[in-house]
Symmetry: C2
Subunit: 213 residues, 2 copies
């Protein structure tokens, strides 16, 4: 739907037409985070930008009673950590062993040109996710998730899920049991195949796409 016509993506006039490469300065070191390690916490002072080198990161928020909503997963190559003020509003954790390049803009540097496209991309993705959480049922949510992960990994048949069922549930606003049941149903319908716990194969892409609308 609404397919991008050409290879070259057209941009609105208010965006820089020749986006600058993101990191130009001296090479910044890569920090390593083991599985489950906190990268930053809600309430902490923000300021740095983070680029995933390898592994995967979850961004989430907690309610007082422990309910958790994961607002985004970030895979290799993606940048996260920017905030609208000097405080982090979310938690960021490494899902698996993860390498992250931490970049701190020198005081006074204006990164707007580099950051705006990323912020807009994140905004679009968040808004699309709102539709999933607000108006789709369990099967549709899981289908949309599998399609999203597939597309972010190049649209291959085989999709790697770096995160646990628990993470998937907290991303989709479902319980771990419901996620499991839906995957079983999709498997029984012949839509997907479970290669291993964290690796699935998409057998009927069209069906999956139709489910996720």
């Amino acid at each position: 739907m609404y397919a991008q016509a050409s290879a070259k993506i057209e941009l609105p006039s208010y965006l820089p037409q020749n986006p600058a490469p993101f990191f130009e300065g001296p090479a910044t070191p890569v920090s390593f985070f083991p599985a489950g390690a906190e990268i930053y916490a809600q309430g902490e002072k923000a300021g740095a930008l983070y680029q995933v080198e390898f592994g995967a990161v979850r961004i989430y928020r907690l309610l007082a009673d422990g309910r958790r909503q994961i607002s985004a997963f970030h895979l290799a190559g993606e940048t996260f950590g920017f905030e609208s003020d000097a405080t982090h509003h979310f938690f960021a954790e490494a899902i698996n062993a993860t390498g992250v390049r931490v970049f701190r803009a020198p005081s006074g540097t204006d990164m707007s040109r580099q950051l705006l496209p990323l912020a807009l991309k994140g905004l679009t993705r968040a808004q699309e996710h709102l539709l999933v959480l607000g108006r789709q049922n369990a099967i549709e949510r899981v289908a949309a998730f599998l399609v999203e992960m597939s597309e972010r990994q190049g649209g291959l048949q085989q999709v790697e899920l770096p995160m646990s069922r628990n993470d998937i549930g907290d991303y989709l606003g479902l319980t771990i049991e419901t996620v499991s049941r839906v995957l079983t149903r999709l498997k029984e319908k012949g839509v997907i195949r479970l290669l291993s716990l964290r690796s699935i194969e998409i057998l009927k892409r069209d069906t999956l796409l139709a489910m996720g609308e």
Copy 2:
């Protein structure tokens, strides 16, 4: 929670520290949209920016079968319409009689410095809304909504709701009936009072805040 300490909001170093006024050029005309009028549609070519002069706007997406998710409301003073590429991914409609200032940046203009703070603000708001849709029950959602609307109107006791129950439902991922039932319950509990259909008074702000977490 995580209160902003001083009047002057501290910003991360990667943001412009002295944000430029948004519109500097020659005064742009104000377009008028009657209630329900479309401002732009999904799939249309994007490019302009819109600032609400008076009235209110809803931003939404549709599923094939007509289910609708409103991702944001925009009130007087707010800016919307920016996209990550040249296509609108959402619909924008006037909720009531609404005046909108349409601004088209001349080709080649880089509005990053002005837009980034708005995009980041929108991103934060969308991500917070994800928590509401993903992990909160009906009462919590409505409470969070009322608190949000109150704060966006200056934190007064009396809150104007420019939108219908239908719009509220499609924003909160609930049916119109559920929204109505919850409002009745809040009324019975003495938390709010209905001055008219679209105007409520908050009697127990603390209770409401605690419900919305």
